[in-house]
């Protein structure tokens, strides 16, 4: 479980996050949605330690991450996996080396055990026998899958995904979404997805948190979206034709 307590983040005079409280539970796909520039990515960076919150703390299963010593942070980071927007695979390493990388730096397992784990997760994401391929030889969807494999290879308890569907066609997007959902349930991972793709939200979102101008304005389940009475949230959600049609149907 991940708890956010009054997360605030400022860059000079600009306050990007204005006090976010939230709780993300394991086994669920928790989605942070909102328009561009609302602070979703900054919040995600604060959660994984790429940015230090100006005020507030992030707790991983009651362990304070934001104010922890470096050693304690590294212990928590061992449980964190992250899928970046562009997958962020290391160009000079093969698929196998990319996926094995967290095991190389975070564990002392023998090589054959590491390779077993790598092959296991590659099978799981549907990329059997791609071990020797280089990132430049992969399609966008395959890169994302390798990214997911790398994120979960060390039996991560927390999975963060930053815009997992960006740059993907609708069909591949659904495949990636379903993969995230399945993995979350299968391994009981606490998954946090930053997205502004309403299809994904409706498809896989178990808990949805809407951000607007650095504030959490709405949260709930995907079933509750259509009943929301928050104007900013409705403006965001029903900017999409599909969602407007869905609301009409519901009425």
């Amino acid at each position: 479980m991940i708890d956010l307590e009054n997360i605030q983040k400022s860059f000079g005079d600009i306050t990007v996050l204005k006090g976010i409280d939230a709780q993300f539970k394991p086994g669920l796909v928790n989605m942070i949605i909102g328009a561009s520039g609302t602070g979703k990515s900054v919040l995600l960076k604060c959660m994984v330690g790429l940015e230090q919150p100006t005020v507030g703390s992030v707790f991983y299963d009651k362990r304070n991450f934001s104010n922890a010593t470096r050693k304690a942070q590294i212990d928590i980071r061992k449980d964190i996996g992250m899928l970046f927007q562009g997958a962020a695979l290391f160009d000079s390493k093969s698929v196998e080396e990319n996926v094995r990388f967290p095991l190389d730096i975070l564990t002392h397992l023998p090589l054959d055990e590491k390779l077993d784990k790598v092959n296991q997760v590659l099978d799981r994401v549907g990329l059997t026998n791609t071990n020797t391929q280089m990132p430049s030889e992969l399609s966008g969807g395959m890169k994302k899958r390798v990214g997911i494999a790398r994120a979960i290879v060390n039996s991560s308890k927390y999975l963060f995904c930053d815009e997992p569907n960006s740059g993907l066609d609708p069909q591949t997007s659904i495949t990636i979404d379903n993969l995230i959902k399945e993995i979350t349930q299968e391994y009981n991972i606490t998954t946090v997805v930053v997205s502004h793709d309403m299809n994904s939200v409706m498809e896989i979102g178990d808990y949805i948190m809407f951000m607007h101008q650095g504030l959490k304005l709405w949260d709930g389940t995907s079933d509750q979206i259509l009943d929301s009475e928050v104007d900013e949230f409705n403006d965001f959600v029903f900017a999409n034709n599909l969602m407007r049609s869905l609301k009409k149907l519901r009425k």
Partner: protein, 248 residues
Amino acid sequence: MQSIGKYFIFLGSLLKNRESFKTYFKLFIDESIKVGTNSIFLIATVSIFMGAVTTIQTAYNLVNPLIPKYVVALVVRDMVLLELSPTIIAIIFAGKVGSNIAGELGTMRITEQIDALEVMGLNSSSYLVLPKVLATIFMFPALVVTSAFLSIYGGYLAASFTGVISPTEYTQGIRFQLNEFMIIFAMIKAITFAFLVSTISSFMGYYTKGGALEVGQASTSAVTNSVIAILLADYLLAQLLAQYLISF
């Protein structure tokens, strides 16, 4: 001034929260191959021609009958050891390796590969940059030695082919009154320049912000700033150490 301060903080971060020796050793070997072995062809080509041209130019300008012919080789040797091999090769090295380092780190930054390392709990600057700096400091003096040898040999070839000075006189000049401090001086320069090129280029690449355009700009800045730093350091080292050439 802010950038200079940031540069020194960056240097400090290379030594904080380091990884295991084993991790660095593998990276060090990889970087040494990239930095050293891959530069040999360029350095060798430049050095041979540099030596050959210096020999011919010196021979045609040193026409006083009172000056023995072997002095041409002596001038070539001193120029090669004191300036041409350490300094000119460092400038070429900055163009090749410096831009490569900045481009590589800049691309890693904008494609979030550096963030990925940080999320895994690595000190990304130490993990990525320290092996590059160590490999450059280790390999560049070797390249300077190779360059000096090939430049002198290039001069010998030019002397043989053009006949501006006989090979015997050339060899005599090369061996005449060698001040060994020149070699120490060249190595001090090589280590200093290697440090400057690797750290400045890494700094420029590591803090790249934006996209492909900014990566290109980072590479250009890396080369420009490295060259300025090399020339400044060259002047300071000459001021500091030239006196020892006389007393050694």
